[in-house]
């Protein structure tokens, strides 16, 4: 059964690695999560979390229109996140069971508690900004959301990495930084799309920094993963991640060079948002691909010693 590849008789695309498997069947079960719901949530959670940080800083520096726009986008993104998470449950009616226990060993439990605090804060921040009522409450909510935002944006990396999925667990050191960078790029993109160009200097700078950080962590992750990095380069994941890189770099370059002009700023912002989404869907697809092929489970475990 050396390197046997399933029963459908498909051809291997790469030279076969020397490893044994049981009729080419996966050793672990791939996540049953829907990509739209969960990769979509990774993206939206990042957009919301990093957006709250940029919103608070914008408010602090007197960029009121950008601050309001980002607060609204964060509240909308976290609402859609909650909907996606509940929709993905096998028993959506039991979503409140998530708050039945407080369990530090479960990133999903910690995430549920985090969202249950962050969600309302971000909602209050958006509502007060739009209506202009209760400014003090609004400021407190904005500050709270900005403090929790970075956690919302990065804990999802731990959620993915704390599984037996080789492409995720193998990159458990790099994934949080990748998610943080991708979230910052998305929020900067949203600021460019929704805020006036006169207020966009920080967003342009954030876009450049995030694109650089994303490129660096991406490299580091692939280096660490060794042969499992194939799953980030090939198939659907490879296409998505190449697209993500192009969009993010183009968006950042556009933001830095042409970001003072409204249409160019909006286009760059959209590219950054799309790039961030492609990154999350790409990482998700790489995880599924690495779980479906026994090679990625067996060979790294064999090489350990």
């Amino acid at each position: 059964m050396k390197g046997a590849r399933g029963t459908k008789g498909e051809q291997a695309m790469v030279p076969r690695a020397e490893f044994a498997s049981y009729y080419g069947r996966p050793v672990i079960k791939p996540p049953s999560w829907s990509a739209t719901d969960i990769a979509g949530y990774f993206f939206l959670g990042g957009l919301a979390g990093a957006g709250s940080v940029l919103a608070a800083a914008s408010q602090l520096t007197g960029r009121r229109r950008t601050a309001t726009a980002l607060k609204v986008s964060s509240a909308a993104a976290v609402s859609c996140s909650a909907a996606a998470l509940i929709h993905d449950l096998g028993r959506p009616g039991r979503f409140t069971h998530m708050l039945r226990v407080f369990k530090p060993t479960s990133p999903m439990s910690m995430g549920s508690w985090l969202l249950s605090v962050y969600g309302p804060l971000s909602g209050v921040a958006a509502l007060t900004a739009v209506t202009g009522r209760l400014p003090r409450t609004g400021t407190a909510a904005t500050a709270g959301a900005a403090l929790l935002g970075p956690a919302v944006a990065t804990y999802t990396a731990v959620l993915a990495a704390d599984t037996a999925v080789p492409a995720w667990h193998g990159a458990h050191r790099e994934l949080p930084y990748l998610f943080a960078a991708s979230a910052t790029a998305a929020a900067a993109g949203m600021a460019l799309v929704a805020g006036p160009p006169g207020e966009s200097a920080p967003a342009r700078c954030a876009a450049a920094l995030a694109a650089a950080a994303e490129t660096a962590t991406d490299r580091a992750a692939e280096h660490r993963l060794g042969m499992v990095a194939e799953t980030y380069r090939e198939g659907r994941a490879g296409t998505l991640l190449r697209t993500a890189r192009t969009l993010t770099l183009a968006g950042a370059a556009g933001a830095v060079l042409l970001g003072r002009h409204r249409p160019a700023a909006a286009a760059s912002g959209l590219a950054l948002l799309a790039g961030s989404a492609c990154t999350r869907f790409g990482v998700f697809a790489a995880g599924v691909a690495s779980a479906e092929d026994p090679k990625y489970t067996v060979v790294p475990q064999r090489e350990e010693h």
Partner: protein, 312 residues
Amino acid sequence: MTETTGTTGTTGTTGTTGTAGTAGTAQAGDGRERVGFFTDTSVCIGCKACEVACKEWNAIPEDGLSLTGMSYDNTQALGASTWRHVAFIEQPARPAPEGRTQLPLADGPPEPPPADGEFRWLMSSDVCKHCTHAACLDVCPTGSLFRTEFGTVVVQEDICNGCGYCVPACPYGVIEQRPADGRVFKCTMCYDRLGAGQEPACAKACPTESIQFGPLDELRERAALRVDQLHEAGVSDARLYGHDPDDGVGGDGAFFLLLDEPEVYGLPPKPRVTTRDLPAMWKHAGAAALSLLGTAALSFVLPALARRKRTS
């Protein structure tokens, strides 16, 4: 159904006490001994009585009938509706150094070397490992998965909300969501039978005692003797799998005697409970969160500095 923080005290609600971030180690509660399975695949005859007994006792629904072409294995894998799975592997016979075949009869005369075209069967009844450090239990966000008083890992079906997190967390690919139902299911080691002082249905049905049930310590001793016996008989490939309390999952509650590498049977060679790395992962996530704050701060400071430089 009782609360998950029962007398066992090993479930996730008190999860910070486990070593290196794992939610709970397997210790039997109520002064009971931890029980388990020892599956000796060298005497498995591939009858699938365990699969049938398991399905019948636990009233597991039918989950598809198909001819796979994978030897006599049409069950394919463990899953939501398959809690025992018999693997069938056909291998070309390899002449052993003494000219014996791989599986000599205990006291018979030396057999002639195999002719070309002969092969050997490997058959093994796989099951949930009921890990000492169980990833499924660690990551379950609802407390549905819990450690029983017998040291086994069981899903409370009235609590599970089908989040599916345990599915990719399991290093053995055991637990799975049942599509029409949404919740996850896996072997309970016949929790109901254990409560009544009975052995699990699969062990009861096994006609060759390939599946042995009992106190884990006793099974480990018995397994060590059996592997020595096989080595003496010339079966040098015999090895135990999942018996070592120092392995990546702290040892399995259901362990095996195999006649080839674990991956040949579809088992991971060196499984690891990923929750062991959770403290490191939280640290990196914390650092990443701070770097996000730092990047944001820098993005506001740098343009301001640049503007000041230009105006001065």
